[in-house]
Amino acid sequence: MTKEELLRSFLEDELFVEKSYLKEGEYKNYRWAAPSKHKLFEVLKTSIEGELSNESPQITEKKINQFLNKQT
């Protein structure tokens, strides 16, 4: 299972349409490299990358925390 397939399986969730992060059916053609429309996309990608590279959960959590703590 590629990281893109894994990502799409998450993007298929109705939450993305409900929150208007994605349009209906948009997940099908979503590319890994596509610019993130919301921080949730980045969080998801980081966790998928961590999982597929057998990274320890603590490292992945740290990366996500660092990303979300950025005060932009």
């Binding site: 298929e12 969730d13 921080k39 949730l40 998801l44 966790s47 959960p57 959590e61 979300l68």
Partner: protein, 729 residues
Amino acid sequence: MILESIEIANFMCYAGSNKFEFTEGINVIIGDNGYGKSKLFDAFYWVMYNECFDTNKKKFQKSPFLKKLIVSDKAISETKEGIITASVILTFKNLDKGNVYILERNYSVKKEDDILIEDIDSKEVVWQKDLHYLTAKEVTDSEQISRIKKTILPDNIKPYMWFQGEQVESIIDFNKTDTLTQAINVLSNITRYDHIKEISENLKESTTKEFNKKQRDLSSDKDKSSNLELQRNHILDRLKELQKQELQIQDTKATAEEKSEQLLNKISDAQKIKEVEAKRKSIEKNLEETQEEFTEEQKLLHKKLFTNKWVLKGTEKLFVEYSSLYNNYEQTKLKQELTKQARIESENQIMIELHARLPVDVPEPIHLENMLSNEHCLVCDREAPLGSDAYIKIKELLDRSKTKVKSIESEDSNIHDFGADLRKLYQNGLGLSHNIKNIDDDITSTFRRLRKLDKKRKTLTDDLNAIESEINSLIVDTALNVHQANDLLNQYNAQNELAKRAITQENSTANEILKRKQELQQLDIELGRLVSGEIPAYLIEKLKVVEEFNTLAHSTRRRVFDSLVKILETEANQHYQLMTQGNMSARGIIKLKELNSGKNYMPELTDENGNVLMQLNTGNIILIKLATIMAIISARQGSRDTDLYTLITDAPMSVFGEDYTIGFCKTVSNVYRQSIIMSKEFYKNMELRNQLLTNPDIKLGKVYLITPSIPENSRANRNQLSTNIQALN
């Protein structure tokens, strides 16, 4: 990975050197019971795991427990002195990676002066070679050997790829809570979703803590905030506790419901057995009572001869005769008494007259006695000889002094009067004569009652026999005895009761959870109100993102898992339909029923309307399980698992009828790139064997026929036993 060959030397019944070569598709080894199929399966298993399946103990045993049993008896018997080695070599070819793995296991015994010295354990040798080179390199590193073996067959796949027919039941065990879920976990990427879900949980927890701390720091009333925070933590702890409790209750409920459903299959049988048994007991009791009544009535029959005066039966004539005689007697007696009365009255009259002529005792009796003794009357001074009139007259005078006036009573005072006795007899007879009239009716009624009781007794005996025969048939048909049926009903009721209780507890827990959540919301509002400054925007956003991430991770995991179950269900049905094609009576759709709130899924057979089909036989159940096992493998097609590993199974078809054999082979050859099946089904049934060899829908590999070297009746002497291998294609 393709298993290219197995070379067997002096291993169990495979004496001497033997070799089977295999190709892609379904490879079949045909042999009757006891011809060496299971030993061949043991050979595969032994090389990989140093274990053989002990059919008696129903478990695998390591070589140190088997020792000389591993070595062929014939090989031992034919060797006078020296070492005898049993060895099995498996050659695997990995075409994709261009590798060849050769795995050998051997075990030796030494014979010295007819004494057998056994090695402690077997030895393993592994070679690896490049497909394009001739020479192989021995692998000595145990970790590398372990890696090679895992490449050949990972441990988590092993139960679904290498199994004995009799193990099918346990691979998907209806009683184990998570067998199918484990299989899904093993053969899918679901663990990736589990890991991401775990990350989301941790992030949510840490971010919530961070947010709460910030709230506290910005509080206008720090004491109150701390206090509220404390309450909040208590509620959170309680909520965790309640949620855990809720899961436990749901588990209990699901387990109870599952057990109830499992029992439901047999519950109607058990109920019927119970009802019939109750009926039997009632008949038995009734029969006992009737028998007692009958016996009592028979005893009374003899007593009634006297108590009910049956002994007088036929004496009516005697009574009539006696009445007549008694009547005559009474009349005669009356007449005699009248005559006697008349005579006495006449005698008394004479005496009275005499008294008037001469007073009594004149002359005095003493003188009268003298006169009689002297035969001379002194009154008239004349002779009175004995017997003369004068003498008689003198005597009358003497007797007159002794004579009194007679009455009829004084006359008879010395004679017993039987009149009263005879009258009593008459009166008794008169009383009995009324009973005699009723004796016939009494006897008739008594015997009618006896006959009725006897008839009832016989009917009840027949009923009892019939019902006992019904119970016996039920016991045979349902494989349940009366005791087991009662146990089953008790268990069923207990499980239902448990499920009911769990539902009540579940509702009450759910209510409390709701209440606590409302309290938590209220506390959050209060804590929010106390915040005097501004919580940083990044933190608010962070909390929102991690909460969404957590929701997403949960729902995606659930959706992916559900879809895997659906795929599995579809695949299982395809295999089931294909396997059951040959049998027109087979029907039903496999449904994977969710148990324990998604913790487990169990296969069940339903009709088109979704109604569960009960009363499945063992063959059906095994077919469903095999279809599900194949589904687990075939659902992974494309992920290369099925291409990588070889299915090796001994007698998987033995529990279902021959109607399914060809369907099974077609399915197996479609699902697995390579399979090796040991089967007896094709041994005697030549038509089936021809179908196997010619059916275009079966992707056939090699087919072998194995037979023992000595006839069946001589097989007790295993010192001559070897196995003949004949290639059929």
